[in-house]
């Protein structure tokens, strides 16, 4: 017997998948917005002179990098309400879990960039009377951001893919909708393939955008 493809579910199911994709993208964008900013702050803190500041920050990074994202997601959903007595909406909780994971990875990405700022530039900042905050935002940040950009984008794409884990805790993102449509229509092959293609398209488009930016950037460098 040959399996024949049947895409008649599209008329009813595609709307749900689009909706799921929208949720996935919103969560991924929010998580990235938080991750790019918080990652830099955490990355700066790892360079702090005070051991008291470094220790908790390193523990945070190592913990999030050395445990599975799925465990983190499930842990957030079950344990945060019990321990901290906070009850966030599942949507906010999902963003929180994904963004903290991303923050830990982005902090590592920023670290190399932060360390590579030449000592002279720091001294020049002091000589020009910049405050420590100004030195951080005007000298270190642009340099570290440019250095870290490729890894930040790769991490951002991974975070987008990791939002699929939120289907396990019943957030109605793309993967959850995919499972729903697949079991409603008994068409897992077509539905999961479509879901895979949707994720693939987003990943490839973002990765390609990075390549375009990189090319433009190197052009700017040579012009300067």
């Amino acid at each position: 017997m040959n399996y024949s493809l049947d895409f008649s579910w599209i008329s009813s199911g595609l709307g749900l998948l689009w909706h799921g994709l929208a949720v996935t993208l919103v969560i991924a964008l929010c998580a990235n917005a938080i991750g790019v900013v918080a990652g830099f702050v955490i990355g700066m803190l790892t360079q702090s002179k005070s051991r008291l500041a470094r220790l908790p920050v390193s523990a945070f990074i190592e913990f999030f990098r050395c445990t599975p994202a799925l465990v983190q997601v499930v842990w957030f959903f079950y344990c945060v309400p019990i321990i901290f007595n906070v009850f966030l909406s599942p949507f906010a909780m999902g963003i929180l879990a994904i963004s903290l994971n991303l923050t830990a990875f982005n902090a590592e990405a920023y670290r190399a960039g932060i360390q590579s700022v030449p000592r002279d530039q720091h001294d020049a900042g002091v000589a020009l009377g910049f405050s420590p905050f100004q030195r951080t935002t005007l000298i270190v940040l642009p340099h570290a951001f440019r250095m870290a950009l490729p890894v930040l984008v790769t991490n951002g794409i991974s975070a987008m893919q990791q939002t699929s884990l939120l289907s396990v805790v019943a957030i109605q993102e793309l993967m959850y909708r995919g499972k729903e449509v697949a079991s409603d229509t008994y068409r897992p092959l077509e539905v999961f393939t479509t879901v895979g293609v949707l994720y693939l398209v987003v990943s490839v488009v973002v990765a390609h955008a990075l390549r375009v930016i990189e090319r433009k950037r190197s052009f700017n460098y040579s012009a300067a």
């Binding site: 017997m1 399996y3 190592e62 913990f63 990098r65 050395c66 445990t67 599975p68 994202a69 799925l70 465990v71 983190q72 499930v74 842990w75 079950y78 344990c79 019990i82 321990i83 893919q161 990791q162 699929s164 884990l165 289907s167 396990v168 993967m175 995919g178 499972k179 697949a182 897992p188 092959l189 999961f192 393939t193 879901v195 895979g196 994720y199 693939l200 990943s203 490839v204 990765a207």
Partner: protein, 219 residues
């Protein structure tokens, strides 16, 4: 809220069983994935155009989609296409290996490009056959130079393998969630589960830095 970690002592055995399955699955898929990744990287670097395109497509698809989707696809869709019953273990192993193959392909590609043209010319000058060139020159060089990244790929795979719990494989994550549900003590159980993963993964990530320094020293 009072926490009681002591009751977990009664669950040491299932948790260790879960960890054993996780480790076995990780190792098996790591070995298969690394072999596959190396082959794919050879094709992508030295192969003819059509083979390169296939290998690139493979890597893009497996890196561009979430592993969870891949696992579901292998478990629910592959049996429909092949008309064979695939057990959850085989589906998980296949998906994890192919995923690992795609990531390690990128790792090897980086180190293959670091093999100098002169080194390959030397092989030709010495009259080594193509096979000897691959097994005796390219393979060792590429492997040593990719060691640190390969190890961190294995750590990623170890963490990602938690996803097989969604298919019902009784790995560490699955066992942890089960105990959490039956004992109604999610905080203690899930925290312990996370710590077990951490205890395995953290020393390995430390090794990555160590090997990196050693390798950089010598090669």
């Amino acid at each position: 809220m009072k926490f009681n970690f002591v009751f977990l002592l009664g669950y040491v055995e299932p948790l260790l069983d879960g960890l054993a399955l996780t480790v076995k699955l990780t190792l098996a898929s790591a070995i298969a994935g690394i072999a596959l990744g190396f082959a794919a990287s050879l094709v992508r670097t030295y192969g003819p155009a059509y083979a390169r395109a296939i290998a690139t497509g493979y890597v893009e698809v497996f890196r561009g989609t979430p592993l969870l989707v891949q696992l579901f696809w292998f478990f629910f869709c592959l049996p429909l296409l092949l008309h064979v019953n695939i057990g959850v273990g085989v589906a998980s192993f296949a998906a994890l290996s192919l995923y690992m193959g795609a990531i390690t392909c990128e790792t090897f590609r980086g180190s293959l490009t670091s093999i100098k043209k002169e080194e390959l010319d030397a092989c030709v000058a010495l009259g080594l056959s193509r096979m000897t060139r691959v097994t005796h020159i390219i393979l060792p060089l590429a492997f040593i130079r990719s060691m640190p990244t390969l190890l961190s790929n294995i750590v990623s795979l170890f963490k990602e393998s938690a996803l097989v719990s969604a298919l019902g494989m009784a790995d560490l994550m699955f066992v942890g969630q089960n105990i959490a549900n039956t004992s109604a003590r999610p905080v203690e159980v899930l925290t312990t589960t996370a710590l077990i993963y951490f205890v395995v993964a953290y020393p390995l990530t430390r090794c990555v830095g160590h090997i990196e320094r050693k390798v950089l020293e010598r090669f």
